[in-house]
Amino acid sequence: MKRILVADDEPDIIDILRFRFKKWGYEMIEAVNGQEALDAVKKLRPDLVLLDFRMPVFSGEEVCQQIKNDPELRNIPVIIMTASQEKIRTQIKNAYGADDTILKPFKPEDLLEKITKYLIEG
């Protein structure tokens, strides 16, 4: 079973995503801030990382940057959730090395499509 790390400081979002991933057949690792997320990535080596843009301690892009700067971790696909426009999303991808972004609020189907794409390709 593929493992997905989800980091978001909003517990309701975590709850909803946990419900969806269970249905879709993925194991979800949870983190409520950037530090937890980074520790979990290093320790548990998930198959995919889904980061909220704004988080306490480390923000999503900082976590992303650290992952992408670490030769052992850089192959893990990272998707960043943000309410920002596409323009900003492009910048996030270029500047921090994120593999993809998804605009909040998103439809569950759209998320599933992106996850499936990276997990199958990876």
Partner: protein, 998 residues
Amino acid sequence: MKIKSSFFSTGVLPFFIFILSIGITLFGWHSSLKNLEHRKHVRFESRVQDISARIRERAGVYIDALYGARGLFAASNSVEAGEWRAYVAQLQMEKRYPGIFALGYIQKISRKEKEAAVEDIRSNAGFREAGYPEFKIYPEQEKSEYYPITFVEPSLPGNMIFGYDLSTSESLSQVLMKSAESNAPHISGKIHFPQPEMKEADIFIAMPVYKHDSKIDTVEGRKQALEGFVIAIIEPRLLFSKILNFSRRDWRIDFEIYDRQVMKDEHLLYDNDSVLDSVHNTNASFSVTLPVTILDRTFALHATGDPDFGSNDSVGNQLPLYVLFGGFVFSWFLYFFLNVLIFGRAKAEKYAEEKHQDLIKEIAERRAAEESLWRSNEMRNAIIHGANFSIISTDVNGLIQTFNATAEKMLGYSAKEMVGRSTPEVIHVAEEVANRARSLSRELGREIKPGFEVFVAKPKLGKPDEQDWTYVRKDGVRFPVRLSVTPLKDNRGEITGFLGIAGDLSETRKAQAELLAYKTALDHHASVAVTDKAGVIIYANDRFCEVSKYARHELIGKTHQIVNSGYHPVSFFTDMWDTILSGLVWQGEICNRSKDGTLYWMETTITPIKDLNGEITHFVAVRTDITELRQSRERVEMALKGGDLGLWDWNIQTGDIFFNERLTSMLGYGLGEMAPRIEAWEKLVHPEDKPRVKEILRQHLSGETINCETEHRLLKKNGEWIWVLNKGKTLEWDKEGKPLRAVGTHLDITEKKNAEQKIQEAAKAKSDFTSMVSHELRTPLMVIQESIGIVHDGSAGPINADQLSFLDKAKKNVERLARLINNVLDYQKLDAGKSIFQKKIDSLNDITREVVNDYHEVAIKRGLEIDLFLCEDMPKVMLDRDKIIQVLANYLNNAIKFSKEGKIFVSTGHEGNTVKVSVTDNGPGIREEDQDKLFSSFSQLGEANERKTGGTGLGLVISKQIIEAHGGKVGVESSFGKGATFYFILPIVERRISQEKS
């Protein structure tokens, strides 16, 4: 020999004959001796006479020098010490006039004038260069007139001779009076001047000087007109030693000169003791006393010759001896012929003596004449060439005798050409001469013919003749001169010719013309008034009359009180009077009242005029009317004040800048506290604004902009910043087109700027708030949406029909809320210009097809059909694909929402430089009056409809913003109840390129 021997041979009285022969021989010897004596005597006398002639001749030279000196006074109104000195210096007296110790001037001073004259001489630098503070008239005597010496050149140490009143001695006084009355030089007797350098007795020759233009044809007139005398002080020792030195080596004569014909010691002027020991040497063989008359005085010349006088005349002196010894040897022979011989010899000697005397006389005369000629030439050259006047002398008939260097220069003729020609011939204008002839004829009561007589008619009568004439130069150029003609007289007072002295008046005339031009210009421009010391108007020019509206006679004799307007306080005028009475120039603006009561403003300059003593005698007031200037100045001031504008006036090339009071006060400075320099102002410009202000200024000064306008901050004196609207304009340029002067204003816009800033801040706060709220809404909205979704799709367990129905409602409204939030965010971004457009050349046909495809399914679900008509040669245009999709989707969404059934038409096309996409529905249509509102923000048409269709009311507004950001246009065509066509038009920016690519 034969005859003689026959006598002897007769033997008659040889002894007697011998004795007789001896006697005859002795007699012959004696008479020969006597004859020799006589000859010597004659020669002696002739020589003494020669000396006397020399003395007279020299006196004549001195008199000529005095005439020259008097000419100086005639040519100039007042002779000053410097001129006198220059004149005397150029005479080179020592060389040319040996014997003249000094040339002086005696001034006639009446008792009344005595104090003032003495003071003047003591203090007046102009008259006497450094002045002569010790000057006094002495010996002191109470007299009606004083005749002190006031000039002496060369000056003597201590100048003790100054102030010496010559009229205190009766004899000297007589000499002066005779001279003054006769208008002729007179010579004095022996006088001792009170000057240590003048140990010896002197004499002087005095020449009267009269006032200009005075009538001196009568004795009384001459007495009245007498101004003083020029005197030549002569030291006899110098004079005679020079004359006698001439042939002293072979002349052994003792001379004594007495100032009378009485040979008393007290009258002895000169004695050349050096030759003989005793003055009255009675042993001397020869002695002669000759009267020497110089002018009106007869001197006695007493000469004594020594016994050896003439001893070196060898033939004459040896003759008696020959007679004596020859007589003894050839007694017979002598006897026979002696009487004949003596007689013949006496006759021959007499003849020879006569001839000899004639010859001596002739030689002496010729020598004297030559000497005289040489001396007078020297003198003439000195005067003539030293003068800056044209000097032309003529004989009595008008034939030119001399033509001086200045005349040559002035008239262009050489002296060679002119001497011998008659005047006025070529150098005068005939017409002028004729005119003068007419007026002279009237004046003198007899006909004066045009010609030389015109010039000399008056001088012949002893009247001065000074006239302005026009001289004609050789090249034809005419110029004005002032010519004065004086008769030249010989010692007997006979007129021998005339002297014409002319000064070039061109410069004077030019100066006069200039003065007139100034006066005209001044009169034209300014009001001029002259008042006496008390302020009484004695002159008013036309302009003054014009401005004050008073007639001249109404102003003259009044004070300026007549134009007093009462505007100024009394202190204003007391200040003015204090200034001008202290001798200073006063300047100011005075408000006057004219005769008709109107007020006018005059910029006034009052200058005190002083006399020679520094006493104020008059005031001259020059005024210009500045009434209009003041009015316009006031208007400008009022305009500036009303507009609250600070004014600056900048001289770009010097950097000087004028700030008005409002401008400095705007910056918290007092008037004059800010340095009037552009650098000082530049320092006050906010550092952040400086580059921008400089650039704007540069653009303006280089001519890129006509006006210069910018808003920037300036530092106040108290350290605060103010915002100013700075407007300026260049008004003057130099020849090369460089800006010279710019004028502009500052308006304090700090409040406006602050308000603007607040508005901007508020707008930003609003925008930030909207953005923040919208973002913050998204997370809870997503949670709600997802939670409902999970329950609604049964993932969280089965639900019944009622539950599903309510969850449907919840889901629909949450989606609507999400759309609303997205639209608000979009709108706000577009409105704030934060939206970024990424435009590329793209195909509208492709985009339209894509969007229609997306909505195809939705339309079918609602029972609608979408018909798509794509233009085949649709040009590509620059567009942001995502944004245009948003617009088109909005149009289609609306069309589907508002259409109940039937078809929706979507078409593309192009016209001119534009492309167009239209979406036509068959919905209810839109009322014409509502069509304009459709695209304005937050309009909600048919709220019921809106709610039913779930729109946000922002779609069309956002569409409009997007299309307008592409430079395009949105619009709607509709008639109520018959559907509507929404369209947008985009410009084809580069059609040619677009077509190639399509």
